[in-house]
Amino acid sequence: MTHTLHRQGTQEDLTHDYTVLAIPARGYNRAGSGEKLQAIKEIFLQHHPVNMGDIKRGNMYNPGLDHVTATTQDGTVVHAVFQDQETLLEVLRDLKEADTGLSIVVSGLFGHVHDTCQKAGIKRHTIEYSLGVHGATGLLPEPPLLEVSTMCGHGMVSFNLIRRMAREIEAGLRTAEDAGHELARQCLCGVFNPSRAADLLNRLVRR
């Protein structure tokens, strides 16, 4: 379940893309974890994420924030996406203070995340690198599409839907913001960054 790894993009783009997830460990702290995960959702919300989700409840664009926050089951995984390092620092400080005992994983630029953890008084424990995409890479579309699609690690955002959103923006049928939200609806977990997607779609259209 490496669904927040392998996000593609430049250093500049990724400066606006930080995903935080909370997960219980089977056999160690799963029982009763629903209440703690609910508290973590509330911390996320206080910092105005651009997306937020619960793998068992969907995301804030589908079926909507009320549904995501209504209840939280033991053993689920909750996520939120933030756009800058300053907000990430505030979120990490609050999560540390809440001391739920659940695992917290941040995805983003290693240098920025390491620096932010240190400011929050957190010593990183384990890291996971992407070593790229290999094999029959001729099957893949152009890199700008991959930058959008890889924001949903479960592969729920199809290449064709991204192309269609670009066409609809170009034709004046949608705004880039609306297209970003439509793509975010497909990503069950809520780790897709619709704001970054809107920027990338605008760039695609300009090309």
Partner: protein, 239 residues
Amino acid sequence: MLVDEAKCIGCGNCLDYCPMNAIALEGDVATVDQAECVECSACLRAECCPTNALYRPPLSYPRDLAWFFSDPESTHPTTEIPGRGTEEMKTNEITGRFPMGYAGIAIELGRPGTGTRFREVEKVARAVARFGVEFEPQNPVTALMTDKKAGLLPAELQDLKVLSAIVEFGVELSRVPAILEDLKEIAPSLKTVFSLDLAVRCEEDGSSPVDKMLLPFPLSINGKTNTGLGRAAATGKKQ
């Protein structure tokens, strides 16, 4: 996934929502290519059909495996967590799955966006099995293996397509370069793509042991960081 032809109005709205490009219009009705559909439910969740003509019939083995490996909302009985993967490094401060001097490698076939058949998964599993690796016991691909030493998968699954499947194992850090070199060798023979990742426990000072190693693939500038905030509920212990 199937289309109820009596309900379908042939608008074609569903076509672009399919991550596997498995839906097409034949005349004025949408059809789903069953060899390409991976039962991911993306079309259902998108609520893209104005007449609710798309539906998933009851699935039996081995087709039900496509659902487990493709729909993140499904929970595989082996992992008991939603999705096709495992907790891997996300809970490492509690489980101690990857201690210092050890690495986790995950090879996710079919990602991004291409899907994979299990015969490609087996090719990779067999290749890394030659190194005597220990496949992750909680991983659903490992659970399917008929020979966990050799990385073999059942004959009836070879043709089955899934959105992605992860070959996952732990190994001593010193052996990582040789395994990655071998993966680089076999990559051109695959009929799908794979996303490759490497997880390691940080040093006591928070630095990465991998930064000092020479690897055949460049390390990403971004990735996942376990903050070490978790602990076991009963004992309060961390690894």
